[in-house]
Symmetry: C2
Amino acid sequence: MVFSYNQLFAFTESVFLSIDCPAEDATQATEALLSADLRGIDSHGVARLIGYIRLWEAGRINATPRVGVVYETPSTAVVDGDGGLGLVVGPKAMAVALEKARLAGTGWVSVRNSNHFGIAGYHAMKALPHDMIGLAMTNASPLVAPTYSLDRLLGTNPIAVAIPAGEQPDFVLDMATTTAANGKLEIAQRKNLPIPAGWAQDAEGRSSTDAHAVKNGGALQPLGGETGSHKGYGLGAVVDIFSAVLSGANYGPWVPPFVAFLQPSANPVGQGLGHFFGAMRVDAFRPADEFKAHMDNWITTFRSANAVEGQQVLIPGDPEREMAKRRLLDGITLLDPVVKDLETVGKKFGVQL
Amino acid sequence: MVFSYNQLFAFTESVFLSIDCPAEDATQATEALLSADLRGIDSHGVARLIGYIRLWEAGRINATPRVGVVYETPSTAVVDGDGGLGLVVGPKAMAVALEKARLAGTGWVSVRNSNHFGIAGYHAMKALPHDMIGLAMTNASPLVAPTYSLDRLLGTNPIAVAIPAGEQPDFVLDMATTTAANGKLEIAQRKNLPIPAGWAQDAEGRSSTDAHAVKNGGALQPLGGETGSHKGYGLGAVVDIFSAVLSGANYGPWVPPFVAFLQPSANPVGQGLGHFFGAMRVDAFRPADEFKAHMDNWITTFRSANAVEGQQVLIPGDPEREMAKRRLLDGITLLDPVVKDLETVGKKFGVQL
């Protein structure tokens, strides 16, 4: 079924208002959540609304958090999310990073006591209108086995970097540190299709092409898969440490699960889950116009490279930007199970989809 | 042939003195270069000494550079390397980052007009004794094809992150953003062995198992190889932009080649090659003791995970640290062609190996 962006926005905002989010937070959470649907990262958008609601019902999301800076230096801060939606806590923490960068050149904010924040790219892109480079990372529920591990110790721990250009569209990298995002696995599960080698391992740690391998005691594999998963493991580890060991959130196997039917650890090592945000003023290095002119040259050089027959070299962010343009015009197609979930949520709060 | 660390140190230092490096710079360059041999990254150590010397002979390395800050804010700086050895420029720029971090919580330095700096990990680790997290990146001669590209537009562009622990050894990630470092390809070439799929592509952009593919018009492939090279491409791109577009160095296909027999571009877009360094004071986020105790817990948790039969989960930096211990005791084995190169260099300057 196809829905317009505005239709999904109105519905989602009403749902967040129904759980008593303040108006500003409901709007913010909706914009952050739906940025995933617009950009084609369907697994992280409205499909997860019911998941957030269930966590709220389980008392694991605070709809009226007092998000605040608990420690700071000229270029750093630790933000406590007070158990709020990551969709709300994230933008508030990123705003702190932007303000630090305005004054000190760069700003770096580690966040504890938060929840899942949607797509990392949304938060990193907040830097772009200010001629700043934005970075965003988050840890997440443990689904990934480090190289040689049978245990799941890391989340898909994404890294996003947004870099402003001039005439050209901005550069926006947004990537999980696994070979494939869990969302892609979920799609293969629903369609009952095999998955490529390097995505997942079975319970004995062997590479598997079974889309259900993770559910059956296996794990997602770090980026690099068959040939060098230690690099993806290393990157995912850095995201975990910057997001949680720096801030005092839970890390590794202690990160609270996103699904409400799994209980968080009875012996947490920190509070909630963690994020890490960065902002660098471009003109803290060289004049912004100069930088952006060179970014334009960088982008056009890469885009016009000789390419494999029938393909073109893309710039990170190209596919998502095109998708967002299209979906704003043509609407967003949701799978039947997602529509059903939204109707369940709507019924609960008397909100019409 | 086996050489002691001290023997190689004395030789290399004498060579750098012979090209008129100031004494302090010769010592620094030697320590940086040999850290690669100690840590088992043989491709980046003394094996490259002859390469640096040839660049100096070609007038492309300045042995007496005036390295200086050309622009700064409280948490950022741009450093001009004045065409010096990256082995000398890198540590000076990292020292600026550390001093910024001391005062502002974090320090971020982009460097232009430099040359190859050895292994990234060496520079990142400079932060550890100060209870800081260190980051180091550099761009490099174009050998890597972005996803779908036939052209080589990026270097192996490594990222290093060093994070201090307490009782446990420190966490040190040091990784090229390609599936495999070029050095591994060179070893397969010398031994005439095939390479795994995902390492390289041929001139038509097809994945190749021929170790000579890159030499014959092909390219190295970004991390992810067969299944998701767009992520390695994206990371390599970020390294290129942070190192060179921020600083005013050459980026992409304009990065000067390391080999003296290839000429740098006649129409450069910047000066020399670029690096990017970061330092974050741990106690700019939370007390260092607290952070390090949690790092110890992180490390022991990961290290003691259930593992695939006969294996153990490693912490980034484990293999290199063990190698360094062993090689300090047992010496460093050099391949015959490397010894020959060193003898050639020694003869040139009347220095005994």
